[in-house]
Each structure stands twice: as structure tokens, then as C-alpha cells.
Amino acid sequence: MKRYLFALSLCLLFIVGVSYAVASFITIQDSFQVVATATTTSQNKEIQTRLKKWGYYNGAIDGILGPKSISAIKAFQKKYGLVQDGIVGPKTAAKMGINLGSSTSSTNSSSDTYLLAKLVYAEARGEVYEGQVAVAAVVLNRVKSPSFPNTLSGVIYQPWAFTAVQDGQINLEPNTTAMNAARDALNGWDPTHGCLFYYNPAKTTSKWIYSRQVVTTIGSHVFAL
């Protein structure tokens, strides 16, 4: 009986161990996604393919730069005397023979438009077009507002400002609709007439957001001042 208990407790320990490892693995991967990923999914896949070919990496080619990929990048950087930050910047990319500009080649595409489009895609890809323009307009209204940071990246990456930044969805590649919405908003379109907040009443858990003055509802988002 004692032995069975022993075996049972071992099993339990095993399960606890596995779930703990999985949980911490996910946490680490999440935190790295926001901090470290400056490259697109397709570029990440290219990076992983090359690192695998050269023997630095043995994980899956999934386009997500998790801890394994990052330590592989660091090992590669160490070998070639680069700064070991685990981030594929221009220098590391050049050593790998990867052109980071490949997806935005030929024209001088504005990085602001792209960043804004990423946020729109991550936050509102299921919304109607004007709902996507409205989300982009809220970001730009925040840049102009004294109560928020004064740059586009400052507003987008402000802690707790957008759930899509916290859960890493910001790093998804935007589609044409999100790009068009971002461009229209940068050109002055603002269906919200100056709103600074939006929320999905079905999903939000924040209480204070309901105290804001509601301006309009577009799709599933309520826009407020």
C-alpha cells in the first residue's frame, strides 16, 4: 500500500512538474515576444531555417522566436563576435545573409504606418473597416493628447494600454485592410470625432472605463472621450 502511495505521489509530482514547466515556458515566450521580436513571422522562419541548417537550433520552424531560438541567435552572435542580445538586428541579419528589408523593399515605407497597422490588425481585425480606422484614429488622438505619450510607439507600447501588446498579438503581420485603415487615419480620417478610449462592452473588466463619455459605437467597440 505504501509503495502504491509512493508511486502515486511520484506521478503527482511528475504532473505538477510538467505543468509548471509548460506554464513558465509560456510566460517566458510571451515576455520575449513583445520585447525581442522586431522581425516578421516569415523572416523569423527564415532565421530559424538558417540557424537549424548551421546547427545552432533544433526546435520547430514556427516563426516564433521563443527561448530556444533566442539562445540559438545568441550562440550565432557569440561565434561571429556580435553583441549577444538575441535580437536579429541589421548586423546579425547581414551575417546570416538575411535581408530584413525584403518585405518592405523598393519604396521607403513609413514605419509609423506599419506599426499602426500592426496595432489595428491585432486589436480589431474582426471589425468592419470604419471600426479599424476608428481604432487607428484613437491611437493618433492619444499622440496629440497631453494625457498620453507624445509618440506613436510611446502610445502603442504604453503599459496596460492595449491588450494586444500584452499578449504578443501586436507581432502578427497586418493585412491590407489594416494597412489601409492605418493610412486613412494618418491622413486625417477620424470617425470617432476625437475619442481617446474604446472598449468592447462584452469583454471589458475595467470599471472606470464606463465613467468616460461615450461618443459612438462602431461594430463591437464603444468609443469614448
Binding site: 514547466a21 521607403n108 485603415a181 491622413n187
Partner: protein, 457 residues
């Protein structure tokens, strides 16, 4: 049975050992990540405290300085410190509900310093001293709060250990006094960025009387004519403008249309273009900076068709005398900026932005907020300076190609009559604006040619 149990136990032990090693490794990585985040947060808090301490000293120095040169120097320091403080605030893991007012104070103080430097040459007069002493009080209150938090930090408080409840985390409780009005922030009114005055912008371009929802619906029907397959009322929007909002479906796309209650004016209309294509880079077309470019649109001949449809559309809305002041074509759309031209004077404050589908030359986007805010019959537009006098004020480096009279918006509030000089220097094209009353150079813009049109900076 016994044997089987031994094997099982051995296997499980091995598994547990492997897991143990793995857990040790991953928790190590997690610890490193947490430590670096903690470092980032603490650094921001330390820098914020430093900035606020410095700001307190600078403001108190201003109170006892009487010389405009040294005042200007102190104001520049204060401006820099408030800008840095704003930056540090934005890096703390707190949301705008907690820090909004403090961020606003830092931004406005920055703008207030700028306006004192620009318009008063750093000279501070009686009323400014009153404002500055209020500012001094607020900074002292912030300083006290921050000192309490810094003391906790020095006693071993860890920010990253206290973030578990998201935006309502234990860490945010430290900042409770930043949002519950225990700190008094003065109202700063000045001609500059982030001023409270900018929020009270009057709508000058729309008549006072309001129309009904039915009238607005008629207006939408008129605009789209027989091409409408479905017209639905979506709701009202308030905010800077009160509008009736409609969804319009035509054979090829969906539009979102906003008609102002005041006067039934088409404020905004937009539709998505090229939904069916995959992501293709269309180059940068940041036309938001393009408001003051010459009336002689450089791309006019290439974009003639699109410009004509924009002007025709404006006429159909009853907007006469509109001319293209800028246009840029991307793969699927052409953006055209229109401004009214009255007695050969281009009215840049009344800009309307149109978006035209390249394939059909149809207007699919319309944005007339600036027009609604600013359009009035401007009286007495008679320059004090003659064109020649103004020309003499232009830098001799600029080879002037053309000149004209226009009304341009001033940086933050108001507008003025100005001479626009277009010219070349060192292979770059410039636009220079000389105030037609005072002779001051009110703005200079440089044109940057890109593959997809031109930008001005």
C-alpha cells in the same frame, strides 16, 4: 508485480529528474527576464524622481530671477526635465487612468515653457509668476508622493512582484494620490502644443441650425444617387462634432458616412479599397504634413482625372471654387487635397481631403473636418506689405519660382494672410511663408520627393 513496480518507480524517477533540470533551466530564464524588467521599471522611477527634483529647483530659481537671458536658460532646462519626466512616466507599468493627469501636467508644462521662450523671449511677467508658483506647488506635491514610493523601494519593495492584478495591481496603489485629486494641477492656458485652449476649438464653418435624421438620410441618398443598394442608419456620434452616421452599400463596396447635425454637411465618408488583394507595399503617403503645399499641384497633369472627380464631387455638395493643392497616387487610391480659392487667395485652413479609387476614378473617401472648423467668409484680406516688399524679406539663397497670396493656419491658434514663395536652393524645393501684415517669416517647408509623391517637412 513487484518488478513492474520497481521499473515504474525508476522510470518516474528519471522523468522527474529530467523535469527538474528543465524546470531549473526555465525558471532561471524567467528570473533573468523578471530581473531585467524590474531593472527597467526601477530605472524609470529613479529617473522620474530625479527629473521632478530638478524641476522643483528650476521653478524656484525662476521665481527669484529677473534677467530675461537667465530666465530663458532656466526655462529651457525646465522644459527638458518635464519632457524627460513624461518619458519616464510612460515606461512605468501603470495605465493612463492612474497617470493621465500627471502626464498631462508634464506635457503642458513643456508646452508652457516653449511658449514663454518663443513669444516672451523668456521674459516672465506678473501673471506668469502666479502660474509658476502654482506649478511649484504641484511639483512639490508630486515630489512628496515619489519620495514615499522611493523609500519603499529602498526597503526592498519589488515592482515586478506586485503587478499580478494587471491595471489594478498593488504597485498602482502606490500612485493612488496621483489620480484622486490630492495633487492640485494648475490649468495652463498658452499658445502652444497640448494647451487646454486647443480643446475649446469653435466650429466656425457650419450653420447653427440642426437638421433632422430624415433630412440627413435624404442628403446621403442625394450624394450616392441611384448607386445605393442599401442605406442604413447606424446611430449618432457626439464628441467634437455631432453627426448622424449611416452605412451605405453600393454594388462594389461599403461606405461609412457622417453628416453633421448642424447644417447637414458631409463631414466624413470612407470605404476600404482593394480588400481582395494581398498585402502590397504602397509606399509612404503621409499626407498629413501636406497642408500648405503650392496651389500649383506638381502632379496635377498625371492625376488630372482624379482631381477633376474630386472637384466635381465638391461641386455636387455645393462647395464652389475648390482647387487641388496637393495630390499623390498610390497603387489603388489617389489622395487629393482641395482648398477654396477666393479672389486668387488660397484658403489653406479650409482643407478637404479626398480619396479616389484609381480604377473607377470615383470619390470613395471625404474628410472635411478642417473645412467645418474653419470655413468663413474672410473679410478685409488686404495685405499691409506689397508683394515686392515681402519678396525683399526672403533669404537671397532662395531662387524664387513663383509667389501668391494665401491664408495659412498659425501653429496652434488662429490664421494669417501670407505671401507664399516657392523656390529652389541646393536642388531642394522650398515653400516660404511671409506674414503679409508683419513681414515675419511664419513658416518654411521643404519638399521631399518620394517614389509615391511628395512630402513636406
Amino acid at each position: 508485480m513487484k518488478k513492474g513496480l520497481i521499473i515504474l518507480v525508476t522510470l518516474l524517477s528519471v522523468a522527474v529528474f529530467i523535469m527538474g533540470v528543465y524546470i531549473f533551466k526555465t525558471s532561471n530564464t524567467l528570473a533573468t527576464t523578471t530581473a531585467s524588467l524590474e531593472g527597467l521599471y526601477q530605472r524609470s522611477l529613479y529617473e522620474l524622481t530625479n527629473n521632478v527634483n530638478n524641476m522643483e529647483v528650476e521653478v524656484s530659481k525662476l521665481m527669484v530671477s529677473n534677467d530675461s537671458v537667465s530666465q530663458q536658460k532656466i526655462l529651457s532646462n525646465l522644459k527638458q526635465q518635464s519632457s524627460d519626466a513624461e518619458n519616464s512616466l510612460s515606461l512605468l507599468p501603470l495605465n493612463s487612468n492612474v497617470l493621465g493627469e500627471t502626464t498631462k501636467f508634464m506635457n503642458q508644462l513643456n508646452g508652457y515653457c516653449s511658449s514663454l521662450i518663443t513669444y516672451n523671449n523668456g521674459k516672465i511677467d506678473g501673471e506668469d509668476y502666479v502660474t509658476l508658483s502654482e506649478v511649484h506647488n504641484s511639483i512639490n506635491e508630486i515630489k512628496t508622493e515619489l519620495n514615499t514610493i522611493m523609500n519603499r523601494l529602498m526597503q526592498g519593495y519589488r515592482i515586478s512582484d506586485n503587478l499580478s492584478n494587471g491595471e489594478e495591481s498593488d504597485f498602482s496603489l502606490n500612485f493612488i494620490n496621483f489620480k484622486n485629486e490630492s495633487i492640485n494641477f494648475p490649468s495652463l492656458i498658452y499658445d502652444g502644443p497640448f494647451s487646454d485652449a486647443l480643446n475649446q476649438k469653435a466650429i466656425k464653418g457650419l450653420p447653427e441650425e440642426e437638421i433632422t435624421q430624415e433630412k440627413a438620410e435624404e442628403k446621403v441618398s442625394q450624394i450616392f444617387g441611384s448607386s445605393i443598394t442599401n442605406l442604413s442608419y447606424v446611430g449618432e456620434s457626439t464628441g467634437n462634432f455631432d453627426t448622424y452616421d449611416f452605412g451605405v452599400t453600393t454594388a462594389d463596396r461599403n461606405y461609412y458616412v457622417q453628416i453633421t447635425k448642424r447644417g447637414g454637411f458631409l463631414l466624413s465618408m470612407s470605404a476600404n479599397i482593394s480588400e481582395d488583394t494581398t498585402l502590397q507595399d504602397e509606399g509612404s503617403t503621409d499626407v498629413q504634413e501636406s497642408e500648405y503645399i503650392s496651389k500649383e499641384d506638381v502632379n496635377a497633369s498625371e492625376n488630372e482625372n482624379f482631381i477633376n472627380s474630386a472637384i466635381k464631387f465638391a461641386k455636387s455638395l455645393g462647395l464652389e471654387n475648390m482647387e487641388s493643392v496637393w495630390s499623390a497616387k498610390t497603387q489603388h487610391v489617389c489622395y487629393v487635397n482641395l482648398a477654396p480659392v477666393v479672389d486668387d487667395i488660397t484658403m489653406y485652413p479650409d482643407l478637404i481631403k479626398a480619396k479616389i479609387d484609381v480604377r473607377s476614378s470615383k470619390v470613395v473617401g471625404w474628410e472635411a473636418t478642417s473645412y467645418a472648423y474653419n470655413h468663413v467668409q474672410r473679410e478685409d484680406l488686404v495685405p499691409t506689405l506689397s508683394a515686392t516688399e515681402a519678396k525683399n524679406l526672403v533669404s537671397t539663397n532662395l531662387n524664387i519660382d513663383s509667389q501668391r497670396l494665401c491664408v495659412i493656419p498659425l501653429d496652434f491658434v488662429g490664421e494669417t494672410l501670407a505671401y507664399e514663395f516657392a523656390g529652389q536652393y541646393d536642388n531642394y524645393q522650398y515653400y516660404l511663408y511671409i506674414d503679409a501684415y508683419t513681414g515675419k517669416q511664419v513658416r518654411v517647408l521643404r519638399v521631399i520627393q518620394t517614389d509615391q509623391g511628395e512630402l513636406v517637412l
